[in-house]
């Protein structure tokens, strides 16, 4: 039983902020290197989002090459993967040592997409529109009668 609990795998997600000094053309190589490091820890990738440059909500500082640096921008990306619980400490150590990351956050998550579907709320809007068309349809027979009367009037003339 103990061996089974030790070999347990969980789904994790690492959200990371990369230093903005990386050039856009080198970003792909940095991401690939990061993913290769994760692969060396035996992870199975589930999904990810390529990092994109964003303005941070507040200024952050990080010690790089024994020098404290301040950042207002960073590349934010995330990767979701499945890994054995034994490897999580090693992955965190690897992330701490890597100086291309300003910050990272490793959390337990679920396999399916956790982002809310924004369209779900808006989907209610168009559904109400057919209700208006129904009232138009109800008015249609009245229009037909009016048309018939007009035709009769024309025929009498």
């Amino acid at each position: 039983m103990e061996n089974e609990t030790k070999a347990r795998t969980e789904v994790y997600e690492i959200g990371y902020l990369m230093v903005p000094s990386i050039a856009e053309e080198n970003l792909g190589a940095e991401v690939t290197a990061f993913k290769d490091l994760l692969t060396s820890h035996g992870v199975t990738f589930i999904s990810d989002e390529y990092p994109r440059m964003m303005e941070l909500a507040y200024e952050m500082s990080r010690s790089i090459m024994n020098k404290k640096q301040k950042f207002s921008y960073g590349y934010f990306g995330w990767v979701k993967f499945e890994v054995s619980t034994d490897h999580t400490v090693a992955i965190k150590e690897m992330m701490d040592k890597n100086e291309i990351f300003i910050r990272y956050l490793m959390v337990k998550t679920v396999r399916e997409n956790t982002m809310s579907q924004k369209r779900a709320y808006k989907a209610d809007g168009p559904r109400r529109k057919p209700a208006h068309t129904k009232t138009d349809a109800e008015q249609a027979p009245i229009d037909e009668e009016a048309v018939d009367k007009e035709i009769d009037a024309l025929v009498l003339e």
Binding site: A57, F76, L105, E112, T114, M115, S116, K118
Partner: protein
């Protein structure tokens, strides 16, 4: 009485990256709204609080609005 936003929109997971969703539960000063204002269940309020704190750590949301 106002219903829980998450159950009415069938949202099962509250992600810290979903900042547009989280902003609904913040005041203009970027403080978390109380449960009596958000009208979400206690369980979901705790999830919102967790997600907001994670988003703040990652610089996606401010601790205090300027």
């Amino acid at each position: 009485m106002k219903q829980d936003y998450f159950s009415s929109n069938n949202i099962k997971h509250i992600d810290y990256k979903d900042i547009e969703l989280l902003k609904r539960f913040l005041s203009p000063a970027a403080k978390m709204m109380a449960r009596r204002r958000t009208s979400v269940t206690a369980k979901n309020q705790r999830k919102v609080a967790e997600a907001v704190k994670r988003a703040r750590f990652m610089g996606l949301l401010p601790y205090v609005a300027k």
